[in-house]
């Protein structure tokens, strides 16, 4: 079924409720709905198994139009159907919840509520997920008229309201994991209710690393934002810049040279190797197998060095420009990369053998946290976590972008869906990556690295999706035709995969919990993007951007 037929099918499904249909791009269908028709429309799409809910974007259309809009993006291969619901900005902008139809929607809905002030009717929980507890009520940071002065912390409200002594109810016990905990390399907060060693309940709280990046993007120009988004995540910085530049280039109708596209895929492939080796180490450490941790991190240095050689940086590579790439691959670098890949490939094969044959490690991974194909679909899982359950969710395969048309990737899936399968999928994926990277190096297209980009991007909106090491990375970009984006919405893969932990932890041993968390390769910085509240020892205060900048300058002067 090609894209057009697929979109036609979606249009037919949505016909009874549809007010207006447009095709903003070849692969996109926009359907406007009334709020009361949202639930039947989503139910119909879900029942027809038309794609999966990828993200919900909230837009504030400003005081002039007096409206807000919620965009429900469904993706099926390269085709994207967006359900648009408009509501008045003032008063109660109430959306019906769809979390009972599509479980991961609960995270998207909470984001809508906390950032833009949509009321979600029928939501099970109204606890704050992203925004800090001392954030004032009825102040929504992504509204157009938001002003930092409004965000004065409310006294006497703090996170972590867990009971002082661990007893809750009868013989139940709450184990807090995080925000600071040795199992977590980044801040997040989980509360696991345990009965002896068995977990009976799970709850989570995010937002400890929220930096207000989506808001900050609105006051920066298109080029500055490239570097801002790269800093969303230290592990997959390239994919963020990749997705953003793909989107902006689509809006500006700029064709990126073939060589630049190939180099982007090359860096993305190297990044995937570094990310998965890092993940392997972390997982081994959570299981208490530190030798594997040390070895995989040692080998990861090889790929870090290659990235440094290629781009000049080890972490935030800054390989991308709008309209091309910065770093070229010369013959020497190509040789070095190939040598590095040869070494890494032998190591990856070795690790594949270790994770599938080491009895003690298998004790901790085989049959643990098993997610069936149906569950993976229902939870809306993405990336390797989904692929371990046999669900091929890989944007590179489903909806190839950039150089993936020329240098395609074969999708790797496993069927068991347990932690072992997640290890195997990731490692096998690296072998596929190694193969693809060699092909790219051998057939690197000649030509320029960049094309000219206009300073102003024509008005319009677009969606760009890129496969990050953890799964599908979703960018929604809207331009008003100016030098700044009007709105950038980012949905990172970790957010969709949390359900796998919260659902699967219940009934397991406490000792398996860190493994389950690690199993989806969470990236907290990716989850948290919005508000800048800096708490210093003893005092809690909100810093304006100016103050922060000044603080930074003063700090480094010394």
């Amino acid at each position: 079924m090609n894209i057009e037929q697929n979109l036609q099918k979606a249009e037919q499904i949505l016909a009874p409720w549809n007010k207006e249909t447009t095709h903003p791009e070849l692969n996109r269908l926009d359907a406007s709905l009334a709020a009361e028709n949202l639930r039947p429309a989503v139910t119909a799409l879900h029942a027809a198994r038309w794609g999966y809910l990828s993200a919900i974007t909230g837009l504030d259309l400003g005081a002039e139009s007096g409206q807000m809009e919620a965009l429900y993006h469904f993706c099926s291969g390269p085709a994207i159907t967006t359900l648009r619901v408009r509501l008045p900005r003032t008063g109660e902008a109430t959306l019906p919840t769809i979390e009972d139809i599509i479980p991961p929607a609960t995270f998207f809905e909470r984001e809508l509520h906390e950032m833009l002030g949509f009321k979600i009717a029928g939501a099970k929980s109204n606890d704050r997920l992203f925004i800090s507890d001392d954030w004032p009520e009825d102040v929504y940071p992504l509204r157009e008229d938001f002003n930092i002065e409004q965000a004065t912390p409310v006294e006497g409200r703090h996170a972590d309201e867990t009971p002082e002594v661990g007893m809750v109810g009868e013989n139940k016990f709450v184990i807090p994991i995080g925000p600071q905990h040795p199992a977590l390399k980044e801040p997040g907060h989980f509360e696991f209710t345990v009965d002896g060693e068995v977990v009976t309940g799970a709850r989570m709280r995010l937002g400890y690393a929220h930096r207000g990046i989506e808001k900050a993007a609105e006051s920066r120009n298109w080029i500055q934002n490239l570097y801002l988004f790269e800093r969303i995540c230290g592990i997959c910085s390239h994919t963020h810049a990749y997705a953003y530049s793909l989107g902006v280039e689509k809006l500006a109708q700029v064709e990126v040279p073939a060589r630049a596209q190939a180099i982007r895929e090359l860096v993305a492939g190297l990044e995937r190797i570094h990310s998965h080796l890092l993940w392997l180490g972390v997982t081994a450490h959570e299981a208490g197998f530190d030798t594997l941790f040390m070895y995989s991190w040692r080998d990861r240095e090889t790929v870090m060095n290659l990235l440094e050689q290629l781009t000049g940086n080890r972490v935030n590579y800054s390989a991308n420009l709008l309209g091309g790439v910065k770093a070229d691959v010369g013959p020497e670098q190509a040789k070095a990369i190939k040598e590095g890949l040869n070494f890494l490939e032998t190591r990856i094969r070795h690790y594949l053998e270790v994770v599938t044959t080491d009895t003690m490690f298998l004790n901790r991974t085989r049959g643990i946290g098993t997610i069936s194909y149906e569950e993976a679909e229902e939870f809306g899982l993405l990336g390797p976590t989904a692929r371990a359950s046999g669900l091929l969710r890989d944007v590179r395969v489903e909806a190839p972008y950039g150089a993936y048309h020329q240098f395609p990737i074969s999708g790797v899936t496993e069927t068991n869906g347990d932690l072992e399968a997640r290890c195997v999928v990731r490692l096998k994926e690296l072998l596929v990556s190694c193969f693809a990277l060699r092909t790219i190096l051998d057939n690197l297209p000649e030509g320029p690295l960049t094309v000219r980009m206009p300073r102003k991007v024509p008005a319009g909106e677009t969606v760009s999706r890129v496969e990050a090491p953890r799964g599908e990375l979703f960018y929604y970009i809207k331009s008003n035709g100016g030098e700044h984006p009007a709105r950038v919405h980012i949905r990172t893969p970790s957010l969709c995969n949390w359900v796998s932990v919260l659902e699967k932890a219940v009934g397991r041993q406490l000792a398996d919990v860190p493994m389950l968390i690690a199993g989806m390769d969470p990236c907290f910085s990716c989850n948290d993007r919005l508000v800048t509240t800096v708490g210093r020892t003893g005092e809690r205060q909100t810093w304006s951007w100016k103050q922060l900048r000044q603080h930074g300058i003063e700090y480094y002067k010394r």
């Binding site: 905990h181 345990v194 060693e197 208490g288 030798t291 003690m360 004790n363 041993q509």
Partner: protein
Amino acid sequence: MNTLTSFFSLLIFPAGLTLLLAGMFYDWFDRKLVARFQNRVGPRWFQPIADVIKLFAKEQITPGIKNPALFFGLPIVALSGALAAALYVPLLGFAPVHSFPGDLIVTIYLLSLLTICMGLAGWNTSSRFSLIGATRALTQVFAYEAPFLLALLGPAMAAGSWQIDVINDYARDHWFAISQPVGFIIALIGLMGKLELPPFDAPEAETEIVAGALTEYSGRGLAIFRIAKALELVVGITLVSAFYLGGLQGVVPFFVKTLAVLFLMTIFQVLLTRLRIDQTVGLWWRFGTILVLAQLLITILWKGGLL
């Protein structure tokens, strides 16, 4: 005069100061070897001593504890247990300071004191991590304690005595590691369980429960617990190598044999993934205990002339 010698032997040589230095050395040897196996540089030779000195210099925090006397007393009890146990084993290859028939049982009890103290220490705080850690530590005691004891009884039965010194002498001509290999392996692994070394470090699994029972300990208390653990490492290894590796006579055989045992233990530490607490208990009762009982039965039959 007698009292004076007792104090000397308890506080300076062979227990006390000497044992402390030996403990620090063995701790370093263990850490360094593990680090080298894992492709790391590892600590410098004085690192364990430096750690302990640093901890002694730090403030001791007493957060949310039920019984302060217990909180301060437990590390000291644990340390004295390890020191007292040292008097009954052929430390550094010298004959034990004290010896009487049945001192094997006393020594094993004294060695268990550390775990009991850690369990109590975890129970004594209101920290959730400590409580889970304490529960796990005490659960684990029930898993390895019986097989460990039975594994040490094998050589004792063969030697016909429950006196460590006698068994040590008897072992000079009988390498029980060869005649009772199962017992040797179980004693070795049981010792690792006692010391909560990987793969039996579930009671202090940092990725789940931070530092387990000792999460709330800091400064002096933590330092004393660490010393007690280092001492127990030496005493435990001494006991196992005296029984199974042809006895310990003289300083050189002592170091060669005990370091060889420690080397074996580091290999296990490096190769194995941490066991969940249910897996630990399952492993010991389903395999460890049954195997060592079979071994013991064979020893009894052989001793009775039936084999």
